[in-house]
Amino acid sequence: MTAPDASLPLVSLSGVSKSFTLHLREGMRIRVVDNVAFEARPGECVVLGGPSGAGKSSILKMIYGNYRCDTGRILVQDGDESVDVARAEPRRILALRASVMGYVSQFLRVIPRVSALDIVAAAAAEGGAAQAEAWARAERLLTLLNVPERLWSLPPGTFSGGEQQRVNIARGLAADRPLLLLDEPTASLDAANRAVVVRLIEEKKKAGAAIVGIFHDEDVRDAVADKIVDMTAFATEKAA
């Protein structure tokens, strides 16, 4: 990771609003969030708080470019350049995903025929790690996250839900990306594995990454959060 300038937020949202128009339901409009504003600086973990349905996941997906943004700006810092994800070309967003931002959900999208170790090593390599370093990181992460070594050479399709989830976290944290978006990565993990994730998040913060996350578990949230953004502050009435 290039030395982050601690004065610049790595991600900054302002005036961000989102609604869904359901054409198959007579054009019903569901407003999700209104006028969202917050930022995350290098080494900072911002936790999105609020009840389910408050739009926490939608915000992470909008930063990642997975959901569209109706109004406002979502500025992501890529080196010296500031990119507005809300308006950027698909190519530009893909480039951000390749080197700047990573997204970890609790679900592993299974790739057929690729082993757990290969999945994690490939993620490290895509983030710029040399091959040997990529393997080393993959092995370290899988070990830390208690994925039994006998499973490493197998595709995770047949793993238990918890094992898949831990492979997914390993994959999401394998690359050095300055901005990490974590969508309940610890949901349904046991206490020991939650503690591992907390430790890995601390490592990322020390390395200068900015993290925006959703954490259901209070112990994880208390351990990693530098700032809590209350999403109910940006609530809208649900149907307009």
Partner: protein, 258 residues
Amino acid sequence: MSELPLLSARDLGKLYGARIGCEAVSFDIHEGEVLAVVGESGSGKSTLLKLLSTELAPTSGTIRYRMRDGVTRDLFALTEAERRFLLRTDWGFVRQDAREGLRMSVSAGGNVGERLMAVGERHYGRIRGTALDWLGRVEIETDRIDDLPRDFSGGMRQRLQIARNLVTHPRLVFMDEPTSGLDVSVQARLLDLVRGLVAEMGLAVIIVTHDLAVARLLSHRIMVMRHGRVIEQGLTDQVLDDPREAYTQLLVSSVLAA
């Protein structure tokens, strides 16, 4: 991020008499990008592919292509020889029906070697060596090199078609429903293979498919076509997860979790 596109289509249209094949299609594609064109049959996606690969002449609009020498040319201003050179070397075309993309009466090795000979390779040992290498890369047992593709399964034929197309290291590959007639397990293997090769070779791919799961797995960007027009386009996961147009919402909601 500012390098020139490999191919650039502007206001592309095709009329069949009074009937619209496709109209007002504009997009750019760069090396390393996979663009999926989705829509139901009759949406104009196959017509668009035929225009892009110069099988059909457009009624309106232009297609510009950056040739290997770095010069960007109007595809329909090329000489016939230049166009053939593109088709034989710099482009690939993977057909839905392997019988149209392969020479069924020529051995598997011959199908791959033929494209090499078209670019001037004459050394038999090297041609056979390269063909063997490519059969291996597409997971065809190398002892099948002298067999005819008619004795191959559907999945093997498609893999052979891919080897035949990629052996000349094209920069742009067109694919027309490459997985549709295949069993689901065979599809998954083929998609996985294509995905790996595309990333490794940095290919630009324009793939026409009606299968949103194929589009999601392979493509970076997606264009949704209906009645000959592009009604929505963008990042594949964005268009599929947050579709804006009524028709796209209908398409997405009509499939089992893509």
